[in-house]
Amino acid sequence: MTTFALRARPGSSRQLAGTGTLLRFALRRDRLMMPVWIAVNALMVLSMPNTLESLYGTPAERADLIRQMGTNSSLRAMVGPVFGDSLGALTAWRVGVYAGALAAVMSLLVVVRHTRDEEESGRQELVASGTVGRRASLTAALLAAAVANGVLALLLTAGLTGQGTTGALALGLGIAGVGMVFATMAAIVAQLTESARLARGLTAAVLGAAFVLRAAGDSATDDGSSVLTWVSPLGWLENLRPYADERWWVLALLAGAVLLQGAVAYGLAGRRDIGMSFLPTRPGPATGRLGSAGALAWRLQRGSVLGWSIGFLLAGVVYGGMTEGAADLVGDNENARRIFERMGGRSGLTDTFLASMTGMLGLVAALYIVASVLRPHGEETSGRAEPVLANAVGRLRWAAGHLLIAFGGSALIMLLAGLGLAAGYGKETGPILGACLVQLPAIWVIGGVAVLLHGVLPRAAAAAWGVAGTALLIGWVGPALDVPQAVLDVSPFGHLPKLPGGSMEWGPVVVLTGLAVVLVAAGLAGLRRRDMTT
């Protein structure tokens, strides 16, 4: 499907015609998404000095932390090594890698959205028929990503000046640099695949691999000098050492990668037909075995269930392996212990750690259930549901397949997370599994809200993401910020017994499960009665 044919090269100046217009258009389309990504990222980083100040206020506490990080390889895998004891250095250590990863996700979404998405939907054809150069769209997408990362770098540098301008500049540029490395990476991948979804998935997988390589490298060495760390762009960010005798030449690595990848993307973009890709789409079977709405639902969702299952199992194993060490570290810090206790149970620090990890996985599983419950909504708005429902398939039967996967799938991934935790920790299998499964009623309540929205207010179905996001925010940030209990109680997760360690309370479990059942029933009743959206 690809065409490498030698064609007359149009004048290079004309290849970028229309870039300015397209860039303004891209920024206008992203006027909501981009500021949100930037704001969340900046808030996460800029709030860190205060949080760290309250956790590690005295030099003794900081020295203790640094000593712990030197000896605890599993914690180093999670957040990387510490290079200094100033608040700036601790901030760069605690959130640098995560802010870089967040900037990378933002960048890859922006680039794919304005390149492969446009081609796949066919919109690009209309755009390209105007006075628009062959490489204008790619340039506009990369410039849009550069604008976003530039604004982010500016905000971070300005916001962290209080901790020292040089370090602030290094951290801001490093984070934005990682963003641009993944922007240009996405630009390459978008040339290779025909589907935007696959392009996003592959680039995100590269990001995941970069994180794993850095984690592996950091668990092996305590100064970021491992080859594995140096292979990963996230490792470069760490090795830039903001606030700890910056190594400015590392920025050249980031810039070099951006230029190299950008050149590759440009080369590919000029050599292919619009809408085509370098990775051909494989043909499928000429006949199919799908014979029911349920089988179709499974076929549509099985990839996502598999991905979440693997992710939860691995996360379980990693957190399980960290449990002993984490408890040691937290045990030395009064404030951290208090936060962990508010997040989790009251007795035994390993139990508290396990409880907070299962609670965190439960919150993430709420995202799975919302995505899965809203799948039929996507089918409906895309027009694919209509011909299916014009067959001998009742609406309830059609929805039931997806709901079974959503609600059953959430149980499956929590079970796998529990098995992973137990395997990684090496004991307490029963209590850990119980702690994971006790999250389910709260997850199901969130799923139930999504079912209700889809059934009764299909136009507002996406608000289910807001509900899950709110629960996530309350669960993650609430305990650290001394939020009043009344706010914590808004989230169904706030009512769950703190396991392991706490005592099992059946009351909230039964009530939340009942609530979930009522929400699902009400949603399905609404779905039966309403018009299908077309």
């Binding site: 499928g284 006949t287 014979g291 029911s292 709405a293 209509e386 014009a390 398939v393």
Partner: protein
């Protein structure tokens, strides 16, 4: 004759828009029924009500003896539907979709499936995202024609098909009719409707404005006549029902209400007819008349 579809006094509004405003429709078993109307006149809304995807505000509808809303699943076992804009799953092949739809209906005839794939020149191994518009329509058409059903509901099914495939489509519809199946065909391709349909209903603004066989409908409209006469024409202008009279020497062009054709012919033959062409109104003229009425209203 039994009715496959009966609809009377159907109302449906979306907010302040009245999509259907007392629509009537009758489709007899075994006929090909053309369903015509300008864009936005309510054809697709009617079809979605007939499929139980939308609930009518008031009015009665029966499809194959079932209430389309409460009894949707029972009715759908005997129905195959082709929308005007087929969307497929990006990672399922055309063949998988055809088989899925067949199984979700009354079943699929594998021999007919293979034959149709060949006739429509469809590659069933391609994935949904790689089909062109016309090929996506073919996937749905093959699934519909190969399914074991009694009623086919086709909503502008040939959009995107090339003229060769359009011909294949028309032959398939004729075959389905010969097998005794009922077809409701919503279409803008009037030659296609004229070729295939036993009866048509024309709707406008959610209401049925004409319904009947093409012969019936033609009766209500004008025939154009072109004649060359032996002598000068006489008194044509005074005859009732004559429009757009254009006399140039002995050559006459006129339009006449079909009811008054006889009187015009008599008047022409008094002058002696050398040659005569009489063209019945095309469906297009018929349709345009209703459409222009609407524009004038």
């Amino acid at each position: 004759m039994t009715k496959a579809i009966t609809v009377s006094g159907l109302h449906k509004s979306f907010g302040r828009t009245h999509a259907l405003d007392g629509l009537d429709l009758e489709v007899a078993s075994g006929e090909v029924h053309g369903f015509l109307g300008p864009n936005g006149s309510g054809k697709s809304t009617t079809i979605r009500v007939l499929l139980g995807l939308l609930r009518a505000d008031s009015g009665a509808a029966q499809v194959l003896g079932h209430d389309p809303w409460t009894d949707a699943v029972e009715a759908h076992r005997r129905i195959a539907y082709v929308p005007g804009d087929v969307t497929l799953w990006r990672n399922l092949s055309g063949g998988e979709v055809i088989d899925l739809y067949g199984r979700l209906r009354g079943g699929l005839d594998p021999r007919r499936r293979a034959e149709l794939i060949e006739r429509f020149e469809l590659d069933p191994t391609k994935k949904g995202r790689t089909y062109s518009k016309g090929n996506r329509q073919k996937v749905a058409l093959v699934a519909a024609f190969a399914s074991d059903v009694d009623l086919l509901i086709l909503d502008e099914p040939t959009s995107g098909l090339d003229p060769l495939m359009e011909e294949v489509f028309q032959r398939c519809v004729a075959e389905e009719r010969d097998r005794g199946r009922t077809i409701l065909l919503s279409s803008h391709i009037l030659s296609e409707v004229e070729e295939l349909c036993d009866r048509v209903s024309i709707i406008r603004k959610g209401r049925t404005v004409e319904s009947g066989s093409l012969a019936d409908l033609r009766h209500l409209t004008r025939t154009s006549v072109v004649a060359e006469l032996a002598g000068p024409p006489n008194g044509l202008a005074n005859l009732p029902g004559v429009h757009d009279l254009d006399v140039q020497g002995r050559r006459v062009r006129l339009q006449v209400d079909t009811d008054e054709l006889d009187a015009v012919l008599r008047s022409l033959s008094e002058s002696g007819v050398r040659s005569l062409t009489s063209t019945p109104p095309t469906l297009e003229e018929l349709f345009l008349r209703h459409y222009q009425d609407e524009a004038a209203a």
